[in-house]
Point group: C2
């Protein structure tokens, strides 16, 4: 076991073990000080760019011996500040561990390192006719390790589930540098506690994931995509529950307020879609299948439901280019909002039937506190991204009153049977509200689990719950 | 908070809180001394028949104050001894908490108490066109609470997953009588640690589940079923991987050795299926769909794969009665084996492509140790139930040598990337082998989690790992 070496401080010990993988260059520290969450800046004291499991083990051994915080990071595309070293110490970058280790064709599984970019994983397995379903808006840049840490979702979660649903087994480096597997590479497992699912979504606070075995599906390569306008956001939300009640299982069912579409149009410069004042919201609906003939029956089942829900004329994407254009628009909403104003994004989630109530509550609270909101997200999952734009709000109101408004919003979310985050995690930005989601008994259990895995409190400290 | 009352022993305290719900009747204790695992007998000292969450809270408060073990039980159909009070104390029967609390049509969810019988739940939600997918062989008698505790599977797990995949939220009474919710009634949740998945499959060692919110699907009411003979068990196993590689997703893909079918035929008295000496094994394959026209393309994709894998002529079930007959035969294999001989059942699971190797290992080890085995199970999941029949094996060999044989078998399972239990749990009978599945570091983490939830060690003691 590695221990404290006399006359060495932790930085020297880290360099002694990891050499050039350690950086304290000001620019490198600055890059690792932020992710995609608002305008947060928390520079670490050192960045370790891990190239192997052994590098991660060495980092944790030094950190454990010297009591230094370690915050793992991937591509830093997160939206809750989960990858930020808010207590300083070491930012442990796993971006360089980016190998697809094995595509197992016999078992429809893939073993990956945490730094693999999600879209690259998807394209890699599609070459073998297989499908990794989880596709966050940031899939072109985000890493699978970050997805595991935050239990990321994305548009296709409505049919295929979120990251946790595709994880069979993890290799994890513990706080003291020991390495474990959390499960087995099997589809079923009733052997001991489910450490795999405990690790997924734990935001790097219980261990550092160095390899994952993921389940794959045969690739459903055919799909149909339509954009459906509604005269009221309420009607669009209500249509969502009606679609499922009709027995249709879309592979994506996205909601966008008018302002979300317009901001994305301004941001991308693509105004080919006309969005009149009579359109308050859109649903973007995809159905998929392994065979082309599976699509039409689904579309035919959808159309009368949409008509009954008061939808306008659906716009069908005729070819791959048209589909790409619609998806590009949808995927750029987040960045477009960010470009338009200082903002805060709340990742609210409720049972999907309560979406109309949630949306009304957002607007009502916004009216009282005087903020503009742009809402969009994964309506099929009841997962609404509420973007609060600062616009001309005075700094004092933004700093002092807005947290109270957000608290009211989350209280309403919980009252509707929902919770604080559907797919972004709690991280740094939502932790002041965690008492709304959990009782003292629940929090005590979670803190107890944390102590079991990380008795010194070195793994991503300062996250999930207030100190 | 309830505490020890002077001059009362725990039994009196229990009666004072729970009245007639407490029984110490010899016959009642005897009934609760066994489940369906081998011929184990562990009578508790008292049985509490809980009628409400408050009864469970009262039981735990008394147990916590007096330091009495509590083992929750449902229908006691388990196959690992998970529901047996091996350390005495209180058997807490949840069978009477058998209400379907709410079918939520807008959100495709159902809230149930733990004592609901799985088949009754399925039939209840089917009346609303909805589907609860998990259907263990014992679904006509087993309860959802037991399924949650052991993370049960069943034939349709190959397409729809196991119990854990359908749980959104649990109400749990903790060791000290506090009540928590583990999550939210939402499809997505990235808020804090996943206590829901930690609870599922924890075999009653972390808390007592008093209510569950389960996810439902639209009911895929159409299916096609075929029984496919193979001249070698190896070829049948190899066909399993080929089916998935062809892009077919069966809703059931079951394997039965010749002896499994024959034992079930003798047990049920239905010999209408002729099983010649040239048939070594069968696959029972089901495909399903929401619309009848979804079936034929799947069957047409299957047939060439089966032919290529060396299958004999498939027998199609022409109507509902024929399907019921085939499923009845399959579901009765377990009881048939039990009726034929003293036996032990191992719930092995490997990546499905490794099934042929696993089956060969079973037979090879059986040859060396001199036992007969009957293998069947959920081939699509790589989950093979290995039934070891005592037949004429001398008692000493059964008691002394067989554990060594089982150890060899599990070592091989782990070497193949698998683990000890796919859907039955570890419970009492597999715990001597747990060191094969977990390293010391893993076990220490699990024991640590156990201490957080149950510091006094009162919840289902003596399970999962050796004392």
């Amino acid at each position: 076991m590695f221990g404290v070496v006399e006359n060495l401080n932790w930085m020297d010990a880290l360099r002694a073990r990891l050499g050039e993988a350690v950086s304290t260059d000001a620019e490198v520290l600055s890059v690792h000080a932020h992710d995609e969450t608002e305008d947060l800046r928390f520079p670490p004291q050192a960045v370790v760019r891990a190239r192997s499991r052994e590098d991660v083990v060495a980092t944790m051994e030094v950190a454990h011996a010297y009591g230094v915080p370690v915050t793992a990071a991937g591509a830093r595309t997160g939206l809750s500040g989960g990858a930020l070293a808010v207590k300083g110490g070491i930012a442990l970058s796993l971006k360089g561990m980016d190998r697809v280790v094995e595509v197992d064709l016999a078992n429809h599984q893939v073993r990956v390192q945490p730094g693999v970019i999600v879209q690259e994983l998807q394209e890699r397995v599609q070459r073998d006719g297989l499908f990794y379903a989880v596709d966050p808006a940031s899939r072109g840049t985000c890493t699978i390790g970050g997805n595991l840490a935050e239990n990321s979702g994305g548009p296709r979660a409505v049919k295929y589930g979120v990251t946790k649903d595709w994880v069979l087994n993890l290799e994890v480096v513990l706080a003291d540098g020991q390495v474990i597997r959390t499960g087995a590479d099997t589809l079923k497992n009733s052997t001991g506690y489910n450490l795999t699912q405990l690790m997924v979504g734990s935001e790097g606070t219980l261990g550092v994931i160095t390899e994952a075995t993921l389940k794959l599906l045969p690739w459903p390569r055919h799909n149909a995509l339509m954009l459906v306008p509604f005269a009221s956001a309420d009607a669009a939300c209500a249509a969502v529950a009606a679609i499922f009640q009709a027995g249709v299982q879309p592979s994506a069912l996205e909601f966008m307020e008018r302002d979300a579409v317009r901001l994305a149009q301004d941001f991308t410069g693509d105004h080919s879609l006309e969005v009149g004042e009579d359109v308050a919201a859109h649903l973007l609906i995809e159905v998929d299948g392994f065979r082309p003939e599976e699509l039409m029956p689904q579309v035919e089942a959808l159309l009368p439901v949409l008509e009954g829900a008061g939808a306008g004329e659906p716009l069908f994407a005729d070819d791959a280019a048209a589909k790409d254009r619609l998806w590009f628009l949808r995927r750029r909403v987040g960045e477009a909002v960010k470009a338009a104003s200082v903002y805060k994004e709340e990742d609210t989630v409720v049972p999907r039937g309560r979406l109309p109530e949630l949306l009304r509550a957002v607007k009502e609270i916004g009216g009282r506190y005087g903020f503009r909101s742009v809402c969009y997200g994964h309506a099929g999952d009841g997962n609404l991204h509420v973007n609060i734009l600062r616009d001309a709000m005075p700094q004092e109101a933004w700093d002092e009153e807005l947290p109270q408004a957000i608290r009211e919003l989350f209280a309403e979310v919980v009252r509707l049977g929902g919770t604080l985050s559907g797919e972004h995690g709690i991280g740094w930005v939502q932790k002041p509200y965690i008492d709304l989601a959990f009782s003292a008994a629940q929090l005590e259990l979670m803190r107890g689990v944390k102590r079991v895995f990380d008795p010194k409190g070195l793994l991503n400290p300062g996250k999930i719950w207030p100190d």
